[in-house]
Subunit: 209 residues, 2 copies
DNA sequence: TACTAATAACTGACCAGGCAGTCAATAAGG
DNA sequence: CCTTATTGACTGCCTGGTCAGTTATTAGTA
């Protein structure tokens, strides 16, 4: 938010500032209800300036979602190393990381809300998201489950076909918080610990097998 | 969708038909992007008639969400009977039911989308939904878990504090389908079976305890 | 250093179209 | 023929998008 009054030329910083402001407005009100004048005001500029950098409201929205997704896609890459050691230990650190980045980070949550709300208007957005973020995440998780099974640490379960079952509590916490606000947030260490505990017992090879 | 041409007076049926049409339009486009002319056209009437029965677009939206929620709230009541027999058996029938009504029923899914998308515009909507639908569902689930623990069938787990952990795969399937469309739907019998299997092993009292 | 010219980032006033909400006129039905 | 459900044309506001003009900044000149 620039100081009012003085006019400045800042070709380099503008796009980022506009996207940042747009994210806040789109997350709050949704695509249709967001006014570009409000976005401009939040970025400390006027509506005309937005059109110097983005050809239309739709393009601004697409750019915003893509930009906000970038860190998720990048962080994901760090998780695809070849597994070694206890599979359960890998899952522990994996989910600790995922909670940090999907439940506690407001941006990731709001992206989910925006995508859910606007899929009908931007159909390819969800497809891209699946291809670039969610798909790899699922594959990654599946790899760890397989590794655990091969290693004799886990029994064979549907989690191999549907790693989503393991991931589900993350989405639940995410959705809960989106729906009922930070005040009723569900997570915290106890929730994660409970998730991991149930998962461990659910996956573990039985004592007598 | 009435036949075009003839004009009819149907005071009794109108509100229901309008709400039905409004649901389709709101679910498709969201609150802000929905045009009352489109709702009217879908209901086979004109915009003016809507205002005979609903004072504003916002009121129509509220009525729509409330109306679509009614079956969920009613069905829920059937599940609150005093538990008896195997706790796991109760959970099985419970989740079979819930999948039918939250994942396979398009309406329930779309309601979730609408609520998620419009919470910032209708803050009390989510609160009411929590108080009347979700809250009781969570309590109900918690009761079953407690019953299983008291009965010695389940070990004490975080599922007592967070029944959400058990419910999470439902939300996951729901969200997945909302996001990626029926074509990529995740559910089916295998998913539910896998969910139940992991849950059973996760909750079960260990062999040697 | 000071002054000028050229460039282009930025503004703000302005349309044009769209849509929520209104109401006098119309016609269905008893 | 009287009541009232329904219509559809109308209004006023709102907002995405435009563009001629303004001004910060840089390059060039003395």
């Amino acid at each position: 938010m620039a100081v009012a009054g003085q006019r400045r030329r800042r070709k380099e910083e503008r796009p980022g500032e506009i996207v940042e402001a747009a994210f806040e407005e789109f997350a709050r009100a949704g695509f249709a209800a967001t006014k570009l004048d409000d976005v401009a005001a939040r970025a400390g500029i006027t509506k005309g300036t937005i059109y110097l950098y983005f050809p239309s409201k739709e393009d601004l929205f697409l750019a915003t979602v893509r930009e906000m997704n970038r860190p998720a896609a990048e962080n994901l890459a760090a998780l695809t190393a070849a597994p070694q050691g206890s599979a359960m230990a890998i899952l522990r650190t994996h989910f600790a990381f995922v909670y940090k980045h999907m439940v506690e980070d407001r941006r990731a949550r709001e992206i989910m809300r925006m995508l859910l709300a606007e899929v009908s208007r931007f159909p390819d957005l969800a497809d891209r998201w699946r291809a670039e973020v969610i798909g790899p995440a699922v594959d990654n998780l599946r790899r760890v489950v397989r590794y655990g099974i091969e290693r004799g640490e886990f029994r064979p379960t549907a989690a191999e076909e549907f790693p989503h079952l393991l991931f589900a509590p993350v989405i639940m916490a995410c959705t809960w918080r989106l729906m009922f606000g930070d005040g009723h947030a569900l997570d915290g260490a106890a929730y994660l610990a409970g998730h991991l505990d149930l998962m461990e017992r659910g996956l573990a090879r039985g004592e007598g097998a």
